[in-house]
Amino acid sequence: MNAVAQATTQAPPDTGDHAGSTRKTWQAVGLALTAVGLLQFALALARVPIGRGWFALLLFLGPVSLGSTLYYAARYHGTTPGIKNNSTVTGALGSLGVVAFGLGVLLTGFYILLYWYPKGIAGATALSDPLSRVLRGAPADQYFLYSFLYTVAVVLFGVRFIYRYRHNRYQIVRTFSVMFCQLGLAFLVPSFLRLLGQKEHYFTYFWPLSYNNLFPNSITGLWADGHAFTIFIVFWSFVISLVAVPILTYFVGKRWYCSWVCGCGGLAETAGDSFRHKSSKTLRAWRFERWSIHLVLVFIVVTTALLWLNLFWGGAILGKASFHFARIYGFGVGMVLAGVVGVGFYPLLGNRVWCRFFCPQAALLGIFQRFLSRFRITTNGGQCMSCGNCSKYCEMGIDVRSYAQRGDNIVRASCVGCGICAAVCPRGVLKLENGQTHADRFDGAAKPLAEMMKSLKS
């Protein structure tokens, strides 16, 4: 034993966290900077921001952007690239604890103020005013503030997402796409249009999500306007909704929109990434989803059709109902479901509550994807060992494992093609891909109409 005692050595330190203390310092600096920016925002809300004009705005935007980027860079630098979901379900945000509920209340509260008591956030609106004047040539209102904050969130959490999945090129390219679509197409372009005296058109939203786009009163209004640009918008609205949606979805699945372009999807994928595992994977949730999302779609399709008929028959069937409809739908679906519930409930029900249960665009794209698309998630033979990571991290609540463990491909209307199931799979079992045809995806896929009838009966 003496020889043993002499040979006793201190085991080497765990080298995984080498330079760990430097990283921790930079993380702390990043957090502190972010806190400074958020404090400025809180002061602005209370109408006592530090400084005025651009100085006040930059005292929010600068520290928040720099601080959060620094924090994520320091956090991921020196760690090996790969899936690191450690403590996701046990952490403060990831579990259903006080922090998650608190954040839910904050977000919900923000949406309530935004839609119904904008005076409550007038201080923050004032903070964004200098930017609004430069970009749009008009003073900020609460919707400019919202759009601004939304874009900041997509971009900054997009940076986080790219660090987190830096080993995965599909995720990197996709995230650049949602960041570009939000910042460029959904924020800067509409602002510039306004600056040029044109209609603030959002090219990333179209009917039926942006239901107004194909309502007769908007179309006739734009047509009457007669400008080349407004005529183009009318044309574009029809083409994108009625031609591009089925064709693009046939070739690549609904992901081209839901997880690459759409702003709601963009926020969900970036700011909502920490909550994707909270979606319910139960059969019950799926049953509810099938009813809820298709009811919203039917509602909007029927109403649009009635409004056009009404126009042709000179107001004989609906009279002024279109105005009331827009108000009811705007309140119920646009504000309550898309905003308050859709984002406010991220920390409780996952980041795709709106997309999964209510979005009529997702419903329409989903019908094409399920029955007439080349897109599928292929299961690699018999390699699945049922661990459940794919289902757990599916933001749309698809029980991916139930297909993978049978060796079946995953073809579901709701899949937005984010690719996270394939990324978290520890055995490389799943691959998102567009095949040569729609017909080889599952038994019966060659006959989309028959399959659709079967699906309606079940």
Partner: protein, 429 residues
């Protein structure tokens, strides 16, 4: 027909479901002392790391068992009486059976090390092992893991994720090179070290030191070095867990001895999964398969056999996959391991490519230029395509020409095929 299945691991629960699909009337009882509901054993590590909760690792929603009329009994089996056709339990009344399925699973190997039964010394196979480890976490300064297989690395990765320094003692000269060829084994070793895990090769456990209270406080290695630690993980392989059938007249060797239809010599007693020892003709070593998917395949064959279809088990072309920290591994066909061991087949050679950053590699094993197997690291390969090529014994030159058909990497990933072709064509005879 009343079927009692002992064990609710993958073999057990797959057998229950496979049987129900073939026989709507059978009475099916599934006994487990470990858990109320079946769960995925390979997912245990993700519970510890906080990727999932225990209930997330269940392959089926809880209502599935009731809907399929599969009765679940939570008890440990203490014995089997084949004469009376009865299973004895640690509590509650014994279970009568017409047919008995043993899906007993595995337990970790112990090789008579001094101190191997101390507190703080454990294997990592069961939900109970996970709970034991969780109890040892408070104030844990270091863990030592003995054995360099997949479970050993899983355990190392788990502890590392919770910031516990880990030392791995591996007997071989490279990590897992009783399975991996030397080049792959070295790559994996580098990945393990890059993660910050203290990997000690050609290093053995001599004894585990008792701190005086019956708890392990250190290990002593073969060269006499003492390493202080609060947990010792024994992961030098697993063996069939035969405790439930000890003292019964069911014949056992290393496992429960069965034929290739999973019948044991005891009447109406079957065994599948990790605990089954498939008896081969004279002169060949009996087969024990300890994989997730072989458990599922056993269950399908067994369900046919039990419902009167004559069938024998054929595993088909070998495949397997694993993940070493962040490095994925796929293998199809059998490829000869490293360490100078005997080749799997006569005349086997291979062509090999590794990316210069050491995170991707591909090996194609061949006999006289005809493909017999694939090993890939950090590169996903399509199972169906690889197995077809192996079955057809396709020429390696053709394999190289069509390599992109086998690519299963996510979209937009860098394509390595041109480089692989260039390197491998040089190596072909």
């Amino acid at each position: 027909m009343r079927v009692v299945i002992i064990g609710n691991g993958v073999a057990g629960f797959s057998a229950a479901l496979a049987l129900r699909r073939r026989d709507p009337k059978a009475e099916i009882v599934m006994v487990s002392g470990e858990s109320d509901y079946p769960f995925s054993r390979p997912a245990l590590m993700y519970i510890f790391m906080g990727h999932m909760r225990t209930e997330d690792t269940r392959p089926y929603e809880d209502w599935v068992w009731q809907k399929n009329r599969i009765e679940r009994v939570r008890a440990w089996v203490t014995g089997v009486d084949t004469k009376a056709r009865r299973v004895e339990l640690d509590h509650g009344s014994p279970l009568a059976y017409d047919k008995l399925v043993l899906a007993l699973g595995s337990t970790h190997n112990k090789f008579g090390w001094p101190g191997q039964d101390l507190e703080g010394v454990q294997g990592f196979v069961t939900l109970g092992d996970l709970e034991t480890l969780e109890r040892s976490m408070a104030g844990l300064q270091r863990a030592v893991i003995v054995g360099g297989g997949l479970i050993g690395l899983e355990l190392a990765e788990m502890l590392h994720s919770r910031h516990v320094p880990v030392t791995m003692l591996v007997r071989e000269s490279c990590y897992w090179n009783n399975v991996l060829p030397d080049e792959e084994a070295k790559m994996v070793g580098e990945v393990i070290r890059a993660e910050g895990i203290d990997l000690r090769l050609e290093s053995e456990l001599k004894e585990i030191v008792d701190g005086g209270s019956g708890r392990a406080v250190a290990v002593v290695t073969g060269d006499g070095e003492r390493i202080d630690c609060g947990v010792v993980g024994l992961t030098a392989g697993v063996r069939p867990n035969l405790s439930a059938v000890e003292g019964s007249d069911i014949p056992t060797g290393r496992g429960v001895e069965v034929d290739f239809s999973f019948r044991s010599a005891a009447e109406d007693v079957y065994a599948i999964g990790d605990c089954a020892e498939l008896v081969t003709p004279e002169g060949e070593r009996n087969v024990i398969e300890q994989l997730w998917y072989t458990g599922k395949m056993h269950a399908e064959v067994l369900a046919d056999v039990m419902t009167g279809t004559d069938r024998t088990y054929d595993r088909g072309i070998w495949y397997n996959s694993a993940k070493f920290v962040d490095l994925e591994f796929h293998t199809y066909g059998r490829v000869t391991a490293g360490g100078g061991g005997p080749p799997v087949r006569e005349g086997e050679q291979s062509v090999f490519w590794a990316h210069n950053r050491g995170r991707h590699s591909l090996r194609i094993a061949h006999v006289e230029g005809r493909v017999v197997g694939f090993n890939s690291l950090g590169l996903r390969l399509r199972q169906e395509v690889c197995q077809r090529w192996i079955a057809e014994r396709l020429d390696v030159a053709d394999v190289l020409g069509r390599l992109n058909e086998a690519n299963f990497d996510p979209e937009l990933y860098r394509k390595h095929e041109p480089e692989i072709r260039g390197v491998m064509k040089e190596q072909l005879p």
